[in-house]
């Protein structure tokens, strides 16, 4: 593969802090500039094709340069958290996956882990490993869409179709296991809803066999593309200190040179038993965020392969009739099972009083779930720490002094899902 030669004009990440003062998330126009300059206020969105959903950016331009910026969110607010307070615990599991519809399986996971933490239930090994496998497939799914749409926005149209081809293969796997392509509701408190179908292993193995080569192809398409390099390198800078101060996580944080991944540093599920590398890139620009996404897909493929190899045999859900539905055939013979089934379906299980915060590494970074229970069958309070919501806080810092044409590349690189921002 021959790399196109591009002049190395990558500046070092800036000195000091670029977070705007006094409001960290709003870039205000210098009053002197406003007096003398010809400031043009432009409204991007909320229905702009390149804003990944319904994001509105109020941009103030001095010529081609962004001198003022304010992100306006909330157009997709649907009150998930309020809704979940009205549903029994096990019905509420359907909500989190709709919050971030691209890495849906990880969102489902974090809520189920929070319930299990309050219930003090330990799921069987097979469930833990399958959760890990599906989480990584979900990460690949989310990153593929990110890659396809980001490239599309910068003019590389063909890549979108390739990415969607592989995304479809991932969704086929989800369909095979869970019966649904998205929003599967496959994870239950205590384990999985159903056993893993036998045909899944060979299909999934086929996928992880061809995926690395496909990723190399995509990277070859983009990394030797002069236009792609010119439009991503050195743009949207965010230093490590600023990224931490702004609460950034996931690929954005790792592209700023911070070596941090909850899967490795605060292991949940069985991430301490699989081997993977955490990709770190030092430049904090759009290009490095792209590299982190590419490397993460490779690592996720490796984790999926290890999950297939190490998948334990045995039950897929705990045998606790107070929280898990009894097997269907028992309902015809056992009165007790019938009562348990009835109680679980009508009222739901009760979760002991308490408050917990569970954090996992979603495709976008630290996804947290804070849950309060009063001991009843419905959650008292559910709150999601949405990594996309926090990522958009960095728009003003990343875009100070950017060109208006680069705005879309930068906002795309922050990898936000508006459903998760607005919840």
């Amino acid at each position: 593969m021959t790399m196109a030669v591009v002049a190395e004009k990558r500046p070092a990440i800036y000195e000091g802090s670029r977070i705007p003062q006094p409001i960290p998330t709003v870039l205000l126009v210098d009053p002197k500039l406003r007096e003398e300059g010809d400031i043009l206020e432009v409204n991007f969105g909320p229905n702009h094709p390149s804003t990944h959903g319904v994001l509105r950016l109020v941009v103030e331009l001095n010529g081609e340069r962004v001198v003022g910026l304010k992100a306006v969110v909330g157009y997709l607010h649907t009150g998930f958290e309020k809704n979940m307070e009205q549903k029994s615990w096990w019905k509420a599991i359907t909500y989190p996956e709709r919050i971030d519809y691209l890495s849906f399986q990880i969102n489902e996971l974090v809520f189920v882990l929070a319930i299990e933490k309050l219930l003090e239930v330990e799921p069987p090994g097979k469930a833990t490993w399958m959760r890990m496998l599906l989480s990584e497939l979900s990460r690949i799914h989310s990153h593929l869409i990110w890659l396809g749409t980001s490239a599309l926005e910068l003019g590389a149209i063909s890549l979108l179709w390739y990415c969607f081809r592989e995304r479809d293969a991932v969704l086929d796997l989800f369909e095979l296991v869970t019966g649904a392509r998205m929003h599967t509701r496959y994870f239950q408190a205590g384990g999985l809803a159903e056993d893993i179908p036998p045909g899944f292993y060979s299909e999934c193995r086929r996928f992880v066999d061809y995926m690395p080569a496909r990723l190399d192809e995509y990277e070859a398409l983009l990394s030797s593309q002069v236009i792609w390099l010119e439009r991503t390198k050195g743009l949207g800078l965010l230093s490590a200190a600023d990224a931490i101060a702004l609460g950034q996580s996931g690929p954005v944080l790792r592209a700023s040179g911070v070596d941090w991944d909850l899967r490795r540093d605060e292991p949940y599920l069985a991430y301490d038993q699989v081997d993977f590398r955490v990709p770190i890139y030092p430049n904090g620009d759009v290009y490095d965020r792209y590299k982190v996404h590419m490397d993460e897909m490779r690592e996720s493929t490796r984790i999926v392969r290890q999950c297939l190899d190490g998948m334990p045999e045995g039950p897929w859900i705990v045998d606790d009739r107070k929280i898990v539905l009894p097997p269907r055939d028992e309902l015809h013979t056992s009165m007790e099972s019938l009562i348990h089934h009835f109680k679980l379906v009508t009222e739901g299980y009760r979760v002991p009083e308490g408050e917990v915060y569970v954090a996992v590494e979603s495709a976008r970074g630290e996804l947290g779930c804070y849950v309060v229970s009063d001991g009843g069958p419905k959650p008292w309070r559910v709150k999601f720490r949405a990594p996309s919501f926090v990522a958009l806080e960095a728009t003003a810092t990343c875009m100070s002094d950017a060109l208006v044409a680069d705005l879309i590349a930068i906002v795309g690189s922050l990898d936000t899902v508006m459903g998760e921002v607005d919840r």
Partner: protein
Amino acid sequence: MSWEQIPGFLSQKDAHGETTVVVETERLVEAATYLRDEAGFDFLSDITPTDYLGWEQPRVAGYWGNRAGRDLNSPGSWGLAKQPEEKPKRFSISYHVLALREGAPRLRLQVWCDDGEPVPSVVTVWPTADWHEREAWDMMGISIDGHPNLERILMEEDWEGHPLRKDYPLGGEPVRFSGEE
């Protein structure tokens, strides 16, 4: 581990492998600065307000309703085997902080306030608190004191009420032209 050295320390609770430290509301910024500078909690994950209105009210077991009948708009309308522990005030605000170092220590810093009572802003300590505090104001009506830009964030600017409060009506819409006005 004991956190009594935090400025304004009131109480500490360890449960489910998590530590909750309650501090005085007025000394929140002091406590936050201490946690960031002395204890190394450089990363603020999340700020969550919780409304405990109706938490200690006696509830009717068995079906979703209260003594007067099924009421969607009333908080605390399902039965419990035992009444939950009493809370000091109506709202709790939890600050989930994390230290980006070996072992990933986490801490939940908590303050309590009643309706309208001001809670100091921690934007100067952790800039990421900006939007979290705006959300706390928008959704829960927590009066954040000293925030540089306290506007609604998810609801529109002229929205009335704070939707995540327990006394915010759930079902039903006001009927117009019902003949009463």
